[in-house]
Symmetry: C2
């Protein structure tokens, strides 16, 4: 496995692989790799011939007061994980390498970034779209892998790639959960044992949504109300949003129909946690 | 010469050329080709092995009330010119091919797009940056050619390419002028014979700027004042702006120093005309 710290070096490694006719797979990450990331790497290993994993805690997607400084950076462990998974190249640039001078150019995806997390993190998706554009232009992959866990991000990146005719395919992989249902997230490290138990209610609220839709309830207000009741059982959970939206447009729905995304964001203590499920109403 | 009307077909032509080891040169245009464009095509022929010229009147860079509808589209003549210049591929997509669904993703270059033409055409550079990103992603050239005539556009595109790590080089070619100094522009077609004579004052005002700086004048206000006096000789010329800015940052200067851009935009009748010169103050 090669570790590239510069744009020039990752480009030359990819170029050499492409010359050999290899299909380039790309997994962009902020490091602190866990089984969620590993599932993306495994999908990349299956779906391509040469896997590049980027490890870069991107400053431009964190808002003021967010956890950029304290975000975990267990770099040596991350490299070990990548090496064990037979990743071909880890691209681990410094912030200075990625943002050589003041960044004036931003990629904005309108409408899709207004609701859900975008309401609470107004510049987050601008930072994500911009850094993904930069990473795609640097690595030039044939296919890139994202997690369904960050549902809004996946929709935004897919739309950006389509709108800007970026020459790659986006694959979205299923959310990985602990046996108790809690999504695996780098931010789980911020939680105490007690808070981790409380956090299980997030998935329980999403299961409640699926059950109600299965049972034929289509009134979104009613479903959200019941989901909130699940979460409010534990006072340490502060709800940021509980939303049911169209899975493609991310626009709020009054009646559940077609493919819907049920998404939840809460704070437990200082930690912000998100989760979601996709429900195909037509199948119930 | 091949004429590609779809993204798929231009990509496959370029891919085949690249496989043969050819360097891809790209000249994005809105058609209505004149000797300015021809100079770009000639530069592309010299600087690469396989030249793609795009002809696309991009709706997203025209503001409401601007000349999108009446912009000249002499497609057959354009093809003839490209063919004579041994262009390998003309990419001429329809608006529907370029914008398949509502475009939600925009590339914004901040600061550089606020002044000069940006003041009067608030969404113009957003449209230009976005369509250039799309075209670069479709054609995937090694090098693209732009004219110094559109000075602000050239600075914006160069910065966008650097900020977003786009894998291509931008070459800016000199402004082409008629013997009387008037820049060659597709919009000159809108002018009457009389108006064309009046328009010569635009370049005269820029020459006045160069003379004054050569003579040691560095007070920008004084230079702009004299430039305006040149333009105001003819009442049919309505000044939009007369600016002297830093050539790289496009920020207004009080004292002319380093490399400066002197830029003028006027209206003659309904027609908007721009011109500029670069002056290296250190050389005088």
């Amino acid at each position: 496995m090669e570790v590239a710290e510069t744009i020039r070096s990752v480009r030359s490694l990819v170029k050499a692989a492409r010359k050999k006719g290899k299909k380039i797979g790309f997994v962009p990450t902020m490091g602190a790799l866990h089984i969620g990331h590993i599932s993306l790497i495994e999908a990349a290993k299956k779906g391509s011939d040469f896997v590049v994993v980027s490890i870069f805690v991107n400053p431009t997607q964190f808002g003021p007061g967010e956890d950029f400084e304290k975000y975990p950076r267990p770099f040596d462990t991350d490299l070990e994980i990548c090496s064990k998974k037979d990743v071909e190249v880890v691209f681990a640039p410094t912030p200075e390498e990625m943002y050589k001078s003041e960044n004036l150019t931003w990629v904005n995806v309108e409408k899709l970034t207004k609701g859900l997390c975008g309401q609470f993190r107004p510049e987050h998706f601008r930072g994500v779209a911009t850094v993904c554009t930069k990473l795609f232009n640097i690595v030039m992959p044939d296919v890139a892998f994202f997690g369904q866990k960050d549902a809004q991000q996946a929709v935004v990146i897919k739309r950006m790639v389509a709108d800007l005719n970026m020459p790659l395919e986006i694959v979205v992989c299923p959310t990985i959960r602990q046996p108790d249902g809690l999504t695996v997230s780098s931010r789980n490290k911020y939680l105490t044992v007690e808070q981790k138990k409380d956090a299980v209610l997030i998935y329980k609220s999403l299961q409640k949504c699926r059950e109600m839709i299965k049972a034929g309830v289509t009134d979104v207000e009613q479903v959200i109300d019941q989901m909130q009741k699940v979460l409010l059982q534990i006072p340490s959970i502060k709800i940021e949003y509980v939303s049911i939206v169209d899975a493609k447009t991310l626009q709020p729905l009054e009646k559940a129909q077609g493919k819907v995304l049920a998404a939840v964001a809460v704070r437990i203590g200082q930690t912000r946690l998100i989760d979601n499920i996709l429900v195909d109403v037509t199948k119930h």
